[in-house]
Amino acid sequence: MNKVVANADEAIKDIESGATLMLGGFGLCGIPENCIAALVRKGVNNLTCISNNAGVDDFGIGLMLQQKQVKKMISSYVGENAEFERQLLSGELEVELIPQGTLATRCMATGYGMPAVYLLAGVGTEVAEGKEVRTFKGKEYLLEEAFDSDFAIVKAWKGDTMGNLVFKDTARNFNPMMAMAGKITIAEVEELVEPGALDPNFVHTPGIYVHRIFQGANYEKRIEQRTVRKKQ
């Protein structure tokens, strides 16, 4: 049971053009920086990317957009990205916008073996178009299907060689659900440790969900909105 790969290039080597990828992160927080860089290097294109956001012009998924590698984005919010806007308006890029909680839960449903769930968000809005509406106890819900993806690519704080993952602070965000949802799940971690180094009680993603793991390098961890207060 050897899940450890040398680096991002090896981890993504069988991702081909046309694949559907889930990418963890919220904004630029908790994104798989090393794998994104490797995907840019590999030059695969026609990708469908399921990710809450689409990065900024020169970081995150924005780097893949610059290389025109993305055919379709499935996201809840795609602001802060001029190249994205240009491709969208020119028709080069397809976008499916999904409420954030629905996006998260459709990933979770996959990992829990639930083919579809009933959710509140979007009832009575254009999000509901074409979807089954059903009433439970007087409230209307939409039937939302679990997501399929070929690869889920997540970023964790620590991981062990058996694939167990631990996340730090709000860099957790979509990573655990996407880790559960990949046919193949690739995890990059800031620190790769031996089995036994993580407390089993505090593993966030059990290793059974993770197929490949490596210790990433040179994390930039860019901040989108640096807000601070002065010490008094």
């Binding site: 909680g101 999000v127 966030h204 901040i223 601070v228 207060r229």
Partner: protein
């Protein structure tokens, strides 16, 4: 005189009750945190996966792994909890968050809200807004009463694509405080110096004035 943004936030803060779990949206709603009344303990939820959101970090202590739903660097407080986005919206849908405060482009007199999309303009997405308005028990909208052209944002019916239907319970604008009732907007309070006449003129939706409507005091 109409309220400024800080005053709108200050007025909304009076709706907070001790023990509330509260989700504050981006913009004016964020400012509400600065006016939480003495003796009222609330826990702020950020839908990217945090309960117990604290203030901005001190200069030099900001951490890229610690942000709020507006992607601003923030801090945790003692008793905070971190969780994933699925659980975050799970607790929102399950009604565990007592109050959601968010902005809007339009509100209809039946409680419909539109705040995510303007046809013909670049659409950035709804983020968590649709989940929040669909699920929260109690939604307060913080917004300007009219748009920059002076047109009412309190309408008989939203003209923009909806974010949620029949969900807004209360609106605080620069002109006053309004409940959404089966009979439309109901003015409970008006800003200092603002006349009922002005409110009537700037409200396109059905409007009634509460018998005990009073001027806000700050």
């Amino acid at each position: 005189m109409a309220l400024n943004k800080e005053q709108i936030a200050q007025r909304i803060a009076r709706e907070l009750q001790d023990g509330f779990y509260v989700n504050l949206g981006i913009g004016i709603p964020t400012l509400v945190a600065n006016y939480i009344p003495e003796g009222v303990n609330v826990v702020l939820q950020s839908e990217n996966g945090l309960l117990g959101m604290g203030p901005f970090p001190y200069e030099g202590e900001e951490d890229a792994d610690m942000i709020n739903a507006g992607k601003q660097t923030i801090t945790k407080l003692p008793g905070s909890a971190i969780f994933d986005s699925a659980m975050s919206f799970g607790m929102i849908r399950a009604g565990k968050v007592h109050l959601t405060v968010l902005g809007a482009m339009e509100v209809a007199d039946n409680g419909d809200i539109a705040n995510w999309k303007i046809p013909g303009k670049m659409v950035k997405g709804m983020g968590g807004a649709m989940d929040l308005v669909a699920a929260a028990e109690n939604i307060i909208v913080a917004m300007q009463h009219t748009n920059p052209k002076g047109e009412s944002k309190l309408l008989p019916r939203c003209t923009l694509p909806l974010t949620g239907v029949r969900c807004v319970k209360k609106i605080v604008t620069d002109l006053g405080v309004f409940d959404v009732t089966p009979d439309g907007f109901r003015c409970l309070e008006y800003a200092p110096g603002v006349t009922i006449e002005e409110i009537k003129q700037k409200t396109a939706g059905r409007l009634s004035i509460a018998e005990d409507a009073r001027e806000m005091a700050f």
